[in-house]
């Protein structure tokens, strides 16, 4: 029997709504007159989420844009603190989202490997050991000592995926990054993810690509307006999703 590695217990999270005011003198004055009087509006991003993920599972999360998928992943990875409820996890959680954000374009690819590696909690020594396999997997041999600003978007994403998946997290959270790179690299990264799971580790994926989700995931969860509305067999959840959207 596999153990629970993530336990999301009745988690709610809301964000203050900030009004976007144009930077005109007029609006600045308006702000000043309302100073201290603004009552805050809230946007409820997650509303009483309960979720358990077991070791070795590949859990997919689907839902429409703005339904709270990314917020859930960020909350599990520790970026946001839940307003209510608690999250328990076992082992190191690594979030892969918007690959390349943690990078600095003026540093070389190699320097960015160290930087990103240490952001994920690894010393330069560990990254040195992993360096060859990272360069190999990302297929950036000739470019690794070039500054990152010379890379194409696909190359940056490849480097990001290679680093994040090389550092062997216990739990890997993937947010919409499976569509990076060319067809070949996509297949390679999918194989890498399956490999990570085989090492009895756990993966949670957010994606809109239902074909890959159905192929890879052992279970799907559907989120709507911050609540879980379906949870179970991938084919069934996807069928439900198509029904709902119509």
């Amino acid at each position: 029997m596999s153990e629970t590695v993530i336990e999301v217990d009745n988690v709610s999270i809301k964000f203050p709504k900030t009004r976007v005011t144009l930077g005109t003198v007029e609006s600045s004055l308006m702000k000043l007159t309302r100073f201290g009087k603004t009552q805050e509006d809230f946007f409820v991003a997650l509303n009483g989420i309960n979720l358990e993920v077991n070791e070795g599972e590949i859990l997919g999360i689907i839902g429409r844009n703005g339904s709270g998928k990314s917020t859930l992943l960020r909350t599990i990875s520790g970026i946001y603190r839940p307003d209510k409820g608690s999250i328990k996890s076992k082992g190191q959680v690594t979030l892969m989202a918007g690959l390349g954000i943690g990078f600095n374009v003026n540093l070389s690819g190699r320097e960015n490997v160290y930087l990103y590696g240490s952001i994920l909690g690894n010393s330069n020594k560990i990254m040195n050991e992993l360096m060859d396999s990272i360069i190999d997997f990302s297929e950036l041999n000739g470019f690794i000592d070039q500054p990152l600003r010379t890379y194409s978007a696909g190359m940056r994403a490849r480097l990001g995926f290679s680093i994040a998946s090389a550092v062997n997290p216990d739990i890997l959270l993937i947010d919409e990054v499976l569509s990076v790179g060319d067809q070949e690299f996509r297949e390679k990264s999918m194989a890498r993810i399956l490999e990570i799971v085989k090492g009895s580790r756990t993966v949670i994926i957010v994606s809109h690509n239902f074909t890959t989700m159905e192929q890879m995931c052992t279970r799907l969860v559907m989120i709507e307006k911050g609540e879980i509305v379906a949870n179970g067999n991938p084919a069934e959840v996807i069928a439900e999703y198509s029904k709902k959207v119509k």
Partner: protein, 278 residues
Amino acid sequence: MNKEKRLAEINKAKSFWLGPWIIWLNIQKHKFLISNFIQRDLRLKYRNSVLGYFWSLLEPLMLSGVYFILFVIIKGSPEPNYPLWVIIGVIIWGHFSQSLNGSIGSLTQNSGLIKQVYFPREIFAIAKVGSNLVIASLGLLVSIPLIYILDIQPNLNLLMVPVGLVMVSMLSLGVGLSLACLNTTNRDIEHFFRFVTRAGFFLSPVMWTIEMVPKSLEGYIMANPMVVPITMVRNGIDGRSLGIDSIFIAYSGIFCIISFLFGCMIFKHYEARAVKKL
């Protein structure tokens, strides 16, 4: 990380008073990250320049040249050691204002990274202060040739130099951390403190020394916690004793320590709320 593999609650709110202790543990855990951030800051600052790190010497040197001329115009010929005093003042004040403004903006300027990956956010401010401390220490190397030229005998007063540097670092980090969270909702903070660091330049002993201050104003001047650390570094290199009443030294020291501890507590307390507003 959590190698013993237990199901443990993450991101739990902790007691307000534990702030400094949590930050201390996080520094231990993420020292690689801090050193990589500092290296990145230094590399990026002087990249694509022929003189590279020499700029950290040249910049205060040239700035001091200008202030020296200004001083001569306003006050006439100064004491022979005056150029050294100004250079040290400029370097220490530069460290303070860069560190303070950098840590106040540490959350807003790194919002992209903060929203993509989790690690303790105080690391940004700590690395900022760290890299400015390195730049200031490099800059202070300028004083070595000046010590020879001015024929100063270095003595035990030199020990005040690291003490002063640590005080400045603690003060800027403490004030910066306590305001970084508020700055995510009110950017007015960073604009105001850019002004404070500019005005503080003139109200702190950068271009002048405490000996030039009339006795009647001493009490007011000493309310500025930067007076003691700047004078410590300056007199330490100049081979003179501090020459400040111990009550003022104690005040300044306690001010730095308390603002540092409170900064840590306030930052850790409001961090979770501030991140949501990025």
